[in-house]
């Protein structure tokens, strides 16, 4: 299938964007519509240790315990709509027929019952695992040891055939290079890994997902750069952390958005996956619905934009929580309560036509909390989007433009505005700008340069990308 690159913005201005509305709403599942005037809570969960012992214990954990708890609590609190997300664990992709199928089918059956009984709008996203190993080979036929590429595709099919409403994956192409680069603050290497190699890898996997979705009349949602930008964000951490500078994380986020966009260019409809914070940028470009997470995903991680990131979301997620008891019920019930009420607040704001105001309150709260928050504020996210579509047809140049735009936005605001940076962050920012400025203006030369520079990176094999 052809890839239709984005070369213009779907929104005419940043202000047109707001939570709960997308240019292209998407309907699926049991009465679910996303992006058409309502923000939907999306609850994600992880099984307890040991639940993976055998297929039946895993099914029981996911269906009888987790799914049932979620649906009961949604009814208890009166939420009109809920989306579940199941992030597949290794066992499910390793043996899809044994481990994955009963879970997918069981969840859907139970959801159907609740939908029939209560009329609640329900849907489930299955985010299949990407177990591929760069050293064994990322493409079908290459991995003689585990056949992971084959298994990955199979598990997408199993999900689509047995009850998934929405298909997602956090594809990991290029991460072997990005992992290497992140620990060395090498922005060029990171751009090569994620912006370039990652985008190539997505152009291989996503058309397949879109086809599988079409065949099964379900939706291909979208990707996220968990493997790259979230790792940066996670390591950059908060004000007590010193692993990597937050300016580096911010710039990688912008670059990542050029990669995440590829899923939609391959025909996926959205909503994309919550755990990439690049949602505001890709939504600005493509007008498809986006899942986001922040202050109510503290169970999974603490970020520096807990409110801001809600600004233009269509689904509001908890990222993930391990299933276990709390005073207030099970953990999934407690976090569903939090995200469900936040969605209710946003939906009330929409009803009262105060949604843009609430959006601005969210945004203002964290605008200056970190450079990453700053570039994701919807006005800046829009600018990064513009940089991407300007070079929309060139995965290298658009990634570079995204990174450079983010870096310049931060630099400018640090100079004359309210965004404060530590000395080390400033140093890093200067180095990033210098490094990016030194890059060639042409894809071929960039590729050549990087293939040489990173040929010894452990695990990196150009054949994975047909290079």
């Amino acid at each position: 299938m052809a890839i239709k690159r984005y070369t213009r913005m779907e929104y005419g201005s940043p202000d047109e964007m707001v939570f709960g509305e997308a240019r292209y709403p998407v309907s699926y599942g049991l009465g679910q519509t996303v992006g058409a005037g309502v923000v939907v809570p999306e609850i994600n969960f992880a099984p307890r240790p040991g639940a993976e012992k055998n297929p039946e214990s895993l099914r029981r954990e996911y269906v009888d315990y987790i799914t049932k708890d979620i649906l009961d609590r949604a009814i208890t609190l009166g939420f009109p709509t809920v989306q579940l997300e199941n992030e597949h664990i290794f066992q499910m992709v390793n043996e899809p027929q044994r481990y994955e199928k009963p879970v997918v089918a069981g969840q859907k059956e139970m959801m159907q019952n609740y939908h029939d009984e209560y009329g609640i709008a329900l849907s489930i996203r299955h985010t299949v695992a990407d177990p591929r190993l760069a050293e064994e080979g990322l493409r079908v036929g290459m991995d003689k040891k585990h056949s992971y590429p084959e298994k990955c595709v199979e598990s997408i099919e199993v999900a689509a055939e047995n009850g998934a409403d929405l298909l997602s994956i956090e594809s990991t192409g290029g991460k072997e290079v990005a992992d290497y680069a992140i620990l060395r603050q090498d922005i060029r290497g990171w751009l090569f890994g994620i912006g370039y190699l990652g985008s190539i890898d997505m152009a291989w996997i996503w058309p397949q997902i879109v086809d599988i979705a079409k065949k099964n009349k379900v939706r291909a949602g979208g990707d996220t750069n968990c493997a790259g930008a979230n790792t940066s964000m996670f390591m950059a951490g908060g004000y007590l952390d010193r692993d990597i500078p937050r300016t580096f994380a911010a710039v990688t986020r912008a670059i990542a958005s050029a990669k995440t966009l590829v899923a939609w260019e391959c025909g996926a409809t959205g909503p994309d996956k919550d755990c990439g914070y690049e949602g505001p940028i890709v939504k600005a470009i493509a007008g498809k619905p986006t899942a986001q997470e922040g202050k109510n995903c503290q169970c999974a991680h603490a970020d520096l934009m807990g409110n801001l990131i809600a600004q233009v979301c269509d689904l509001w997620s908890n990222e993930s929580v391990e299933y276990h008891p709390e005073f207030g019920g099970s953990s999934v019930q407690c976090w569903l309560g939090s995200i469900g009420y936040e969605a209710a607040l946003m939906n009330m704001a929409k009803q009262l036509k105060q949604d843009r105001l609430l959006r601005d309150l969210y945004m203002a709260t964290d605008r200056y909390r970190s450079p990453e928050a700053f570039i994701l504020a919807y006005d800046n996210a829009y600018k990064v989007g513009q940089a991407i579509v300007e070079y929309g047809n060139d995965i290298y140049l658009r990634s570079k433009a995204a990174g450079m735009t983010a870096a310049r936005l931060i630099e400018e605001e640090n100079k004359s505005g309210k965004l404060r940076l530590s000395k080390h962050e400033q140093d890093m920012l200067r180095k990033i700008i210098t490094d990016l400025s030194a890059l060639p203006d042409e894809e071929g030369r960039f590729q050549e340069m990087c293939l040489k520079a990173y040929k010894d990176v452990p695990l990196f094999n150009p054949k994975n990308y047909e290079l």
Binding site: I75, G78, F79, P80, Y118, N347, Q351, L352
Partner: protein
């Protein structure tokens, strides 16, 4: 204040409780479950409809045609069966159950006064709330449900020391012991009780419940059997009287409690 007139509340919240209001009335359901016999029927209805004023008279009439044991079994306890069913279906609320149980109690007292020996109950249950823990409402509810299902309850109350529990079990020789704990810092009494009872060769099921505890914890020490809801108490007790030991209760736990959640 903002004007809320324009709001479509359906997009913000859904009133599932209203939507699901049971179509069946208590009267309809009771009609299907009450015995044909006019005397017993009146007793059953008094319990189901909580007619505290009528119960004495109707039990007295029934006693003219049936033995006290029969009136208890097929009238009073039957009435509570109906009440339990109504509660389980979400037609009755908890206070209905409590008040009905009091009506039943009144009737039972009258029957007992006409019996030769002491009434044989289904079994004896010793109940307590852990030391240092004041949260006793759950235990109180469970006690009423057990009583109204024909059990003798020795209620030790709340904030009960381990030693007192052991002594009472030794003296009362119950078929079942129960413990309630709502705090992470009081529940550790349960494994200790389990140990002390086992030292004394006592292996009766020890039903443990309350907000703080969960199944994994309760099953981490011998004789512990978890209960999530008060209404599961009678189900677990009945099986105990049928001869299930604590191991078998655990093995069949999902099945035994499924309907009662």
């Amino acid at each position: 204040m903002l004007d809320l007139k324009s709001v479509n509340f359906d997009r913000v919240l859904r009133r599932y409780d209203i939507q699901m209001e049971s179509k069946e009335s208590p009267e309809e359901l009771a009609a299907r479950m009450v015995p044909k016999d006019p005397y017993l029927r009146k007793v059953v209805e008094d319990v189901v409809f909580m007619r505290s004023k009528n119960i004495t008279e109707n039990v007295a009439s029934a006693l003219k045609n049936y033995t006290p044991e029969e009136v208890i079994e097929h009238g009073l306890i039957k009435g509570m069966d109906v009440v339990g069913e109504l509660y389980g279906r979400g037609i009755y609320y908890l206070p209905h159950v409590m008040v009905a149980a009091e009506v039943m109690d009144k009737g039972v007292k009258l029957c007992e006064s006409q019996m030769k020996g002491a009434r044989e109950t289904r079994g004896k249950v010793v109940m307590h709330v852990a030391e240092g823990d004041p949260h006793d409402i759950g235990k109180n509810i469970a006690a009423v449900l057990l009583k109204s299902n024909g059990y003798t309850v020795v209620d030790m109350g709340r904030d009960v020391s381990i030693q007192d529990v052991i002594t009472t079990v030794e003296n009362e020789k119950p078929a079942i012991l129960t413990g309630t704990a709502l705090m992470t810092t009081t529940m550790s009494a349960f494994p200790k009780i389990s140990e002390r009872l086992r030292e004394r060769g006592i292996n009766i099921p020890f039903i443990c419940a309350g907000g703080a505890v969960n199944r994994a914890f309760v099953e981490s020490y011998p004789i512990g059997v978890f209960a999530a809801k008060a209404i599961q108490g009678p189900a677990l007790a009945n099986k105990t009287m049928e001869g299930y030991d604590w191991r078998r209760l655990r093995e069949n736990w999902d099945k035994l409690t499924a309907a009662k959640e």
